[in-house]
């Protein structure tokens, strides 16, 4: 049976949440399949946390519905709890308890007996290599270890679904790598993971993800699917004065956005631009006309960031037609 045929672990239809006048989550339709790592990518304030809280039954939706592991939310939230693990954005274990005490509490509060708890805590500490910190107070741990302990606590009752709200925010790359290795191990073990992030390199590692913007799902699919529409729309550029080139390119109607990566400029072309190879020639000429030298332009592979930026720019175009980018409408 392919994952597509199985009943979705999370399903939302028109899920909406308002805080007063503000729409935090706006008509979100999602289906998360069993055993996938589903990412939720979006800038701060895009509604990731609100969406996750609704999926955990901690917030009631204003409209729409959410079904998680067959439980209708928020009414059925209590039935859902035993099978879900949740990591809040902020470190939410008891800082004045030791690692072992925190894990013991987590296990017992999920209803495991004393004996089961003892075995499970030992097993989990082993699994997460927390042994060296068993008697350290959680508050004294470094950021990376805190998140490791929090993940251990969130999984100690072997949940079918893990909901992780920016679990790696503020961690160093090594800690993030290790954290994601744990996630893949858990997914391999049969868990479904719904994880939010604003790191592109993490988003790429998800099986599928949704891009959230202003509470709305801007795009949904695998990283490859999200990048596919941008094939032929990315140009890499070497130029002697990259800063001046960025300023000049803002006036070039072909260009949607320019990102500096060291000496290289990563240029995303607008939706109406010609294929990258042709556009590269035109950009080359454009820059030379503006007095740039040592220009080398060539087609490049789109990445997830491009997909994200493309969506953001598209939104902006709708919001402020023409005025923001003079001549945008005149592109061939």
């Amino acid at each position: 049976m392919s994952p597509d045929d199985a009943a979705p672990i999370i399903e939302t239809v028109g899920l909406t949440r308002r805080f007063g006048e503000r729409l935090a989550v706006d008509r979100v339709d999602l289906a998360v399949r069993p055993r996938e790592i589903f990412g939720c990518l979006g800038p701060n304030g895009s509604g990731k946390t609100t969406l996750m809280r609704m999926l955990m039954g901690l917030l009631a939706p204003s409209e729409g519905r959410a079904t998680v592991l067959g439980c209708e939310l928020p009414g059925d939230a209590e039935r859902l709890r035993p099978s879900v693990g949740y990591m809040t954005q902020r470190f939410s274990l008891y800082e004045d308890l030791t690692v072992r005490e925190n894990l013991t509490f987590a296990s017992e509060v999920f209803g495991l007996s004393r004996g089961e708890t003892r075995a499970r805590v030992a097993e989990t500490m082993d699994d997460f290599t927390l042994g060296g910190y068993a008697n350290t107070r959680a508050g004294d741990l470094s950021g990376g270890w805190k998140q490791r302990v929090a993940l251990a606590a969130a999984t100690i009752h072997r949940p079918h679904l893990l909901v992780l709200d920016e679990p790696t925010a503020g961690l160093d790359p090594q800690s993030r790598r290790e954290f994601w290795e744990k996630l893949f191990a858990l997914a391999h073990g049969g868990a479904t993971i719904f994880v939010s992030t604003h790191y592109m390199d993490e988003a790429v590692r998800c099986h599928r993800l949704c891009l959230l913007r202003d509470g709305r799902v801007a795009a949904i699919g695998s990283p490859a699917e999200l990048c596919a529409p941008l094939a032929g729309r990315v140009v890499n550029l070497h130029v002697a004065e990259p800063e001046r080139a960025i300023a000049d390119l803002a006036a070039e109607p072909l260009v949607a956005s320019t990102t500096q990566l060291g000496d290289t400029l990563h240029v995303l072309l607008g939706p109406d631009a010609p294929p990258a190879a042709e556009a590269a020639v035109r950009i080359d000429r454009f820059l030379r006309e503006h007095g740039h030298h040592d220009v080398r332009a060539g087609e490049s592979e789109p990445n997830l960031e491009d997909a994200f930026v493309a969506l953001v720019v598209a939104e902006r175009r709708i919001a402020e037609p023409d005025s923001a980018r003079p001549g945008a409408g005149a592109a061939p």
Binding site: M56, L58, L59, E78, V84, S92
Partner: protein, 408 residues
């Protein structure tokens, strides 16, 4: 010479500017903190009203039981006048001394008036009748009021008898009494004493009327009110402030499980506090422990639970630990002032007494004083225990209902 002065001026100006910035910032923050504003206005108002109402050392309407062994016209007249002094509220009639003492023990009455069976005879024969008043001296203020009123009443009667006394010199051992009704039943020439009525007040439970004896058992209740309420008042808010609340409510733990789990450890802590205060009171102030400590422990249990439940209600209403502390004050203040801890309950006006009756501390004070000073068994204080249990049930119900497993 001018340069250093200018430098100083500039430094002062800078300092003033920073002080001004600091003060303006504080004021802005204060105006945005509604509860603090309420605290600034509310606590003084509450204090003024409560103190104004409650401070009244003029004890009146002491609930009193009557054992009228004479049951005659004279005794009824006497009791009627005793009641007219307004110090005593003769609300109970008892048939035996033991019954009266039982009421005294359970604090249902503060005094028992005993009229001797031979009142009429002794009065009319001029032998001088003795009325006994058993006063609950565990509360020295009340006992003093009874003694004053009793003695005054005795003197008053004697002096009103005076016009009818015939004889050479007042105060002489043998005088003649011409009673109220000159043509009535009284024999005309009879020996009387200078004091036809003597009132003997017998202070019970705390014969020396020492204040410490009265205060310490009450202090147990006051200390428990403050500490227990604060413990749980901070409990839920702390989880909220530290961010563990969201984690907690995402687990299968139920609302009542959280509540009971937060209360349980403090029931033990509370009993340790009781032992501490009593131990100190006993060693330092010689406060007697007449009753059974087990009875006190049993009585303290619902009281502790009630205070902890109030704390939980506060905790689910407050948004920060600071707010919780402020809110607790609003409960603590009336508890201290209207429970009969600071001022005699009997001296408070009726509305204040009604509020007092609704506060668990009032009932716990009766239990603590009853058990410790009077040696009353807990069974005889069942009404007080019941009142506290009822309060606790309501408070815990509100606490559970106001604890939401939701973030809103």
């Amino acid at each position: 010479m001018n340069a250093p002065a200018a430098g100083l001026r500039a430094r002062v100006r800078l300092a003033l500017r920073r002080v001004g910035a600091m003060a303006r910032k504080e004021l802005r923050q204060l105006t945005r903190d509604r509860l603090s504003l309420g605290f600034i206005v509310g606590i003084p108002s509450l204090q003024l009203v409560l103190f104004g109402y409650a401070i009244n050392m003029d004890v009146r309407q002491i609930p009193t039981a009557v054992l009228d062994r004479a049951d005659s016209a004279w005794s009824r007249k006497l009791l009627g006048e005793l009641e007219a002094t307004q110090t005593f509220d003769l609300r109970r009639r008892v048939r035996s001394e033991a019954e009266g003492i039982r009421l005294l023990e359970s604090s249902e009455v503060g005094a028992v008036v005993i009229v001797p069976p031979d009142l009429d005879r002794r009065l009319l024969r001029g032998r001088g009748a003795e009325i006994s008043i058993l006063a609950d001296a565990s509360n020295p203020t009340v006992a003093n009021a009874v003694i004053l009123a009793g003695q005054g009443f005795g003197r008053d009667w004697s002096s009103r008898m005076q016009p009818y006394v015939v004889g050479p010199t007042p105060g002489a051992p043998a005088l003649h009494l011409v009673p109220d009704d000159r043509h009535g039943f009284a024999p005309e020439r009879d020996l009387v004493r200078a004091e036809p009525i003597r009132v003997a007040v017998l202070p019970f439970y705390n014969p020396e009327r020492r204040t410490a004896v009265f205060i310490v058992p009450g202090l147990v209740g006051v200390i428990l009110t403050m500490t227990m309420m604060l413990m749980t008042a901070l409990a839920v808010v702390r989880e909220r402030e530290r961010g563990t609340f969201e984690y907690l409510i995402a687990t299968p733990v139920s609302r009542s499980e959280v509540m009971v789990g937060k209360i349980l450890p403090y029931l033990v802590v509370g009993h340790v506090q009781v032992a501490l205060v009593l131990g100190l009171g006993w060693t330092i102030f010689d406060v007697p422990i007449h009753g059974s400590l087990l009875d006190l422990g049993v009585g303290a249990l619902p009281f502790l639970a009630a205070m902890l439940s109030v704390g939980l209600v506060v905790s689910s209403l407050a948004r920060s630990q600071f707010q919780a502390t402020q809110m607790s004050f609003f409960f603590f203040l009336p508890s201290m002032l209207l429970s009969g801890f600071m001022f005699p309950f009997e001296a408070m006006p009726r509305p204040a007494q009604w509020i007092g009756e609704a506060l668990p501390l009032t009932h716990f004070l009766r239990i603590a004083r009853g058990v410790l000073l009077k040696g009353a068994p807990i069974q005889s204080l069942g009404g007080e225990v019941l009142a506290i249990v009822a309060f606790m049930a309501v408070a815990l119900g509100i606490a559970v209902a106001s604890f939401r497993k939701r973030l809103e």
